[in-house]
């Protein structure tokens, strides 16, 4: 290649100059572009404090966010000495790690991997086998953890091998089958040609605690509470994985992954070995999942097949999609939100506060601070008191019920919402279906009619929430999670921090 090409390409090509003089002033000057030269005048920014905030937030570097996250996680024990809160923090970090792993495969590689949880399971089982009485092996953690990461890497590679030519639905179904295979094997692994590998549904018990330099980290404190050292171990692992993956993404390999997600044929023709890169994405995702499995197995001291079920897969996918697949910070944020939400919704008192705050935020988001907001809010509150006093004057028992769970809002809610002592059997399904009907009707109406209908809808929603949903917190968690997911996806189809994506123009 002639050297002048690589030395200076910015100068105006000579050939172009000759051509333009030969053909008069109308011929184009190569590379002139007024549009580009004056782009500064056309940059669109949101005005006001929101716009300023947006610009400022975009300028914060990734490591600052990471530091903030790690610092917050480490400070949790300072603010709360409750073993429950600390344990939830640990589980959240585990979810953050899993979301980071899935993000490699789904967010960067664009591969729909429904077998992801199996690699989490493989990691947990591998650690359990390498550090327990199962085979009489007791490896120290500094040996076992890298070894498990390697096992996960190889497992991901092997699963990728037969599926590397598949994309989309086909890949999804093959990996889903692999997941099922994993569950079947762990459940029936107590008798493999007469040998017991996994102890079947009984699981592997008495798994070693993490141990570094001969000192083992106890999983519980002297009071039998969750030991904080495991939270720190998880946070350290999270920080390392986050940095490593960020650097990987900002490299030749990361660019190639994103290229094959965008257009795998074009990537292949631009010199990127697409099949190899897919295997690599699978293997890295699996490795992170397996690594996370060690934490989980070591803390619980046991592994069972049912720890790695389909709901876990769905939860991790929800985190990645809600946060914005492809954005590391996004999926971590998704993991924190979902994990904390699922915990908050366990307690009816906390769930109640969350519900009313979300409804209020939603209304403000839709109407802003306008007259219509005042009408809707005022109307709903007045309707509540009127309806309650009317119901109370007909029959005392209709309003004499006690709201589910405690919390500051409970007594206030009991003064406003009709809470009967005994709910007739038909009321729960009738109001629930009625609420769905009202919401659907709302989407068909416009203008003041919609606002007029919104008032009874909100009150009915509060009634259903207090009497039906809070009475059964467990299914309610997932219903609310689903509703939040739908709402977020409508407002931000690419997830909270996902970049705007364009498929075809």
């Amino acid at each position: 290649m002639p050297s002048n090409y690589d030395e200076d390409l910015t100068r105006r090509p000579e050939g172009a100059a000759e051509a333009s003089t030969a053909q008069g002033p109308t011929s184009p000057a190569v590379g002139r572009d007024e549009w580009v030269a004056r782009h500064g005048e056309r940059v669109a920014r949101r005005s006001g404090w929101l716009g300023t905030l947006e610009t400022r937030l975009h300028a914060v570097p990734w490591w600052a966010w990471l530091t903030l996250l790690v610092a917050t996680a480490c400070l949790i024990p300072v603010f709360s000495d409750s073993g429950y809160v600390r344990r939830v923090a640990f589980d959240t970090v585990v979810f953050m790690l899993l979301a980071l792993g899935l993000n490699i495969v789904v967010g960067w590689g664009g591969l729909l991997d429904l077998g992801f949880v199996a690699f989490f399971g493989i990691g947990a089982y591998a650690y359990a086998m390498l550090a327990s009485d199962q085979f009489g092996i007791h490896l120290p953690s500094l040996v076992a953890i890298p070894l498990v990461a390697l096992i996960g890497f190889v497992a991901g590679w092997l699963v990728g091998l037969p599926s590397r030519r598949l994309t989309g639905d086909y890949l999804a179904i093959v990996t889903l089958f692999f997941f099922q295979l994993f569950l079947t094997f762990t459940n029936n692994g107590d008798d493999v040609f007469g040998h017991s590998f996994t102890n079947g549904p009984n699981g592997i018990l008495n798994v070693d605690e993490l141990s570094f330099f001969g000192r083992s980290l106890s999983t519980t404190t002297s009071q039998g509470q969750f030991a904080i050292s495991y939270l720190y171990a998880a946070v350290v692992l999270f920080g390392l994985v986050y940095v490593a993956l960020h650097l990987l993404n900002e490299s030749r390999t990361g660019r190639a992954w994103r290229s094959l997600r965008e257009d795998s044929l074009a990537a292949e023709l631009m010199g990127m070995p697409v099949n190899w890169l897919k295997l690599l994405a699978f293997a890295f995702g699996a490795s992170v999942a397996a690594l996370t499995g060690t934490l989980s197995a070591a803390l619980n001291g046991s592994v069972f097949p049912q720890d790695f079920a389909f709901p876990l897969l769905i939860t991790i996918y929800t985190m990645v999609i809600l946060g914005g697949a492809g954005s590391q910070l996004g999926v971590v944020l998704g993991a924190i939100l979902i994990s904390v939400l699922l915990e908050v919704l366990r307690d009816p008192g906390d769930a109640r506060s969350l519900f009313y705050v979300l409804v209020l935020l939603g209304l403000v988001g839709v109407f802003r601070l306008s007259r219509r907001l005042a009408v809707v809010l005022g109307g709903t509150i007045v309707l509540g008191f009127v309806a309650r006093s009317v119901a109370g004057s007909i029959d005392d028992r209709w309003t004499a019920g006690v709201p589910n769970g405690g919390g500051r809002l409970a007594s206030w809610a009991a003064d406003w919402v009709i809470v009967p002592t005994q709910l007739a059997g038909w009321i729960a399904p009738a109001t629930y279906i009625g609420l769905i009907g009202l919401v659907l009707a709302l989407t068909l109406l416009h203008g003041w009619l919609r606002i007029a209908l919104l008032v009874p809808t909100l009150y009915l929603a509060a009634f259903v929430w207090e009497n039906v949903m809070l009475a059964k917190p467990e299914p309610t968690r997932y219903v609310v999670l689903g509703a939040i997911l739908v709402a977020v996806m409508v407002v931000r189809p690419n997830g909270l921090l996902g970049e705007k994506r364009v498929e075809i123009i």
């Binding site: 390409l9 580009v36 660019r255 010199g271 364009v502």
Partner: protein
């Protein structure tokens, strides 16, 4: 005639028994600009797909720089020095303009995942080189693909700029042979004039051998050392633009036999 860089010998390709390219012989000399013309469906893009390894020929042999590349995977062919653009643009739309070009340097760079995660000095140096290469390749198109555009997503570009970006991306693979599939399609007369000049410039400054598919006869006339005309997968004429353009078989392929007129 210069040393043949690309040589096709008796290459045939059929899809489900339908011959799309049959017994095609073609050669492109080092440093030449050769245009392939022909009506739609003549097999021009199939020819490109055969050369770049998207399809494997059902018959015949394709040789590049003296060695057979038949049956190699596309990325391996690209690494040997053949790069292409696409008739229907295939950019990495949700990546930035600079990243599009940087990604194409994959084939001739080496830092693996482990070195990337550890940010070794060698990897950092290579990364700087890739970045500089990408910016240089984009700078070839003057201001159009420079400055703030580097960090814009590719989907924000206009159609003509996307065509330019595709060429920049292809050159970032450091090819010897550049295959351009309708580089002037969808461009206005000014831009067409500009692309004609740029193709000459690419050979002069980059030293690439160029095989180009083009429908715009002004472009073909302006750039070609040699023109090859295809129809129904068969080479019907070859030679200078003047000779091919007036060849009765080429005229017939484009305009029909005139059977209606005779009636």
């Amino acid at each position: 005639m210069a040393e043949p860089l690309l040589e096709l010998k008796g290459v045939s390709m059929s899809f489900g028994g339908l011959a799309c390219v049959s017994k095609l012989d073609l050669f492109v000399g080092e440093g030449e600009i050769v245009s392939v013309i022909g009506p739609n469906g003549a097999g021009k893009t199939t020819l490109f797909n055969l050369v770049t390894g998207v399809y494997e020929p059902t018959e015949g042999d394709i040789r590049f720089a003296g060695e057979s590349i038949t049956g190699l995977e596309p990325h391996a062919i690209t690494r040997k020095g053949i790069a292409r653009t696409f008739q229907t643009l295939r950019l990495f739309l949700n990546m930035t303009v600079r990243e599009n070009v940087m990604a194409a340097a994959y084939g001739h760079t080496h830092a693996g995942p482990l070195r990337s995660m550890l940010r070794t000095p060698g990897q950092r140096r290579e990364e700087r080189e890739i970045r500089a290469l990408a910016e240089k390749r984009l700078a070839f198109f003057g201001e159009r693909l420079m400055g703030y555009r580097w960090d814009q997503p590719a989907y924000s570009l206009s159609y003509a700029n996307r065509r330019r970006l595709e060429i920049a991306r292809a050159t970032a693979t450091n090819p010897r042979l550049l295959l351009l599939d309708e580089p002037a399609a969808g461009m206005n007369p000014r831009e067409t004039q500009e692309i004609t000049e740029l193709i000459g410039q690419l050979r002069k400054e980059g030293g690439y051998t160029i095989l180009v598919i083009e429908h715009d006869m002004h472009v073909v006339e302006g750039i070609s050392d040699r023109v090859v005309a295809l129809d129904h997968g068969v080479k019907i004429a070859e030679g200078s633009f003047g000779k091919v353009a007036t060849d009765p078989r080429v005229v017939e392929a484009y305009l029909g036999t005139g059977g209606m007129a005779r009636k």
